[in-house]
Point group: C2
């Protein structure tokens, strides 16, 4: 049996972290696990290069989306065989929402909050226009969600952890209340998977989706995953019914027949090179305890909050102080937030900015420890209290931030 890894103490050395950088943006793009380059290279040179088309069998490319799904399932409290990897998070929430709406066809309202990540809302808009049957997306403030649940609502459609503030919804409580009112739930785990223990089965969630390029460290544009509760997996329809979700993809039949279970949520040919990177990144996750990651994350977050509040009264904490109510990031509102983040990045403290005024710092205990947090706070103090952020070069807006 493989030895467990101690968080940070054993795991930091498994990542490449550039000199002079304190990386507090693992909630946007996780750092590079050292095993990735070799793994991807092997898939390119040996599996693709040498095995060629035979690798669909000999290297198990075909079954990889499900095998990877099972490895992610362990991190999100999902039943074995309930998670499928592929595509992007935007597409996976679309599939989930389309299936959920069909399960509740007599109702026309989708309830979400203004803290949901925009692509989730945009995909819902696109789906509503395609359906053309008078569905509506109702948005309320995050704290108003519970009171807004009613028997009018078809689907509760939320991201568990707010991408700007780090505020966390109570998944179990909201799911239970939703179910009591006949509402189907779709949870976006973008800022949850690898950030904190998730218990989809325990909460009774219906559908969930997430990405793997943030806390799971699978690389830029790494594939997403989709969870379908086993009780729905045999009946939920995939609106994106591609050949890999067919019960017999290689029979090349003219008509669609859904595969059994979550396999039906596959769409097209899986992204083999990207899955190789995910395989390597999950090698670390297989050996750490997510509860230990969470404990460290909360300690480091508290430390960052204390240090920054003490040093920079100009920054206003927007992340909830109560540990149970937050994810694994610390965010501050600051009027000069955009320029301040540019100045921090120039000093090697990489976080990111989210409009209109949020400075966001991700806490990733696999490769961030107390020393990094304290050093980051010192630099934040220099940039903010020292007014370094006012320099003209930091006011220039980049194409992508």
């Amino acid at each position: 049996m493989t030895q467990k890894l101690r968080v940070y103490e054993d795991t930091k050395a498994l990542f490449h972290l550039p000199d002079g950088v304190i990386y507090l943006d693992g909630n946007s793009l996780g750092a590079l696990p050292l095993g990735v380059a070799e793994r991807v290279n092997r898939v390119i040179t040996v599996e693709w290069g040498h095995e060629l088309i035979r690798a669909w069998n000999t290297a198990d490319w075909y079954v990889q989306p499900r095998r990877l799904g099972d490895r992610i399932a362990r991190l999100i409290g999902a039943e074995p065989g309930s998670v499928m990897v592929g595509d992007t998070l935007s597409l996976k929430v679309y599939q989930a929402l389309a299936a959920a709406l069909e399960m509740n066809a007599a109702r026309k309202l989708i309830l979400s909050d203004t803290g949901n990540f925009p692509t989730d809302l945009y995909m819902a808009e696109g789906l509503i226009a395609t359906l053309g049957r008078g569905h509506q997306l109702r948005l309320v403030a995050p704290e108003a969600i519970e009171a807004a649940l009613s028997e009018e609502i078809a689907v509760l459609y939320l991201t568990e952890v707010d991408y700007r503030t780090g505020r966390r919804h109570d998944m179990a409580k909201l799911t239970a209340k939703a179910h009591a009112l006949g509402i189907v739930t779709v949870w976006d785990l973008a800022h949850s998977a690898g950030a904190l223990p998730v218990d989809l089965a325990g909460a009774g969630a219906d559908f969930a989706a997430g990405c793997t390029y943030k806390y799971l460290n699978a690389g830029p544009g790494a594939p997403a995953f989709l969870y379908v509760a086993p009780r729905h997996a045999g009946s939920a329809r995939s609106a994106l019914s591609g050949w890999m979700g067919h019960e017999k993809p290689f029979a090349f039949e003219l008509g669609y027949a859904a595969a059994s279970g979550v396999e039906r949520m596959r769409v097209g040919t899986p992204p083999v090179l990207a899955m190789a990177a995910l395989e390597a990144s999950l090698d670390i996750w297989d050996r750490v305890d997510i509860a230990e990651v969470r404990a460290w994350s909360l300690d480091l977050s508290d430390l960052l909050i204390d240090e920054v509040e003490r040093r920079c009264p100009q920054l206003k904490l927007v992340t909830p102080r109560a540990p149970t109510q937050r994810g694994s990031q610390v965010s501050f509102a600051f009027e000069g937030g955009y320029a301040a983040m540019q100045a921090l990045i120039a000093r090697g403290v990489i976080g990111d900015f989210r409009a209109p005024d949020i400075m966001r710092f991700g806490i990733t205990p696999l490769y961030i420890g107390e020393d990094e947090i304290i050093r980051a706070a010192e630099i934040i103090e220099e940039v903010i209290a020292g007014e370094e952020w006012r320099r003209p070069e930091y006011q220039v807006v980049n194409a992508v931030t």
Copy 2:
């Protein structure tokens, strides 16, 4: 200016081809260009590993889907700025078909043929069920398509080159006739891009999509591409309206507003590692003349047809003999086709089998020449005429073929 490469003579050395293998399956998964491993490794170690989140700007990850689209545009006769890379072909035909149906909302019929690749048909079925407005998919035999065009049809939805037989539709003629009847066209170029010159602009095509893992050699699960005619790009709606297709993705607005032009057909975060492989594979395509590739492809196809027909009367050619009517593959029907293909693969001649009885050989002149074709024909003769295919070990059906 970079020197042009002579097809095969200069290009063969740019691919990794395993010893003892004659690879006639580049129409399923192209062979590995030697530049890929280094390029992907650099993206992993330097861009992701060192630049981290900054690489969205410093390494141009954000603009890459469009830049790659422009490089593919040249190969398919598309206008600059009309092609976007991302997702999978299944998803791209879905986007195209959904947009095309909306442009022709008074009509309810989608016309396709029984030679279309199943995922195209399945995605149409899924879309029709989601629309729930009585659309129908009408399938006719490939040769009956022209006669089936009528003012009832909303969208003509075809794959230019048949994945089994290699039969090629006349895109210009069918598109012109379709337009005269008020029909919008969606062309799948899976077996066209990199196989033969395509002239989307000249044909007046409305939408087209294709994949890059076949003739373009970008690797297993490489991203797809979508073409939208410039005259439609400002009005076509993306049913899969993800944040990357928003006019200001990083403003994080709650409501969707489509980007101008084909940019709106982006969905989620682009697959950066897979795009790196595509970059490297297009380095070869940038330097060859697709007309020269086509000329070689037809010569090699004729040679394979002649050699096999002479040696194996049991194999019945199902690919059209007329060069203008075929793509870049040669297919034979044979009752024992499945077992025969297993036997050929065991002998190092890799083609593939398509149900019910098709043995398919892809012709890829970048790395296949006359010697390989003649040697392959000799082995085909031994396997078929010598009855090697009847051995019990070749009758076992694999999970994926």
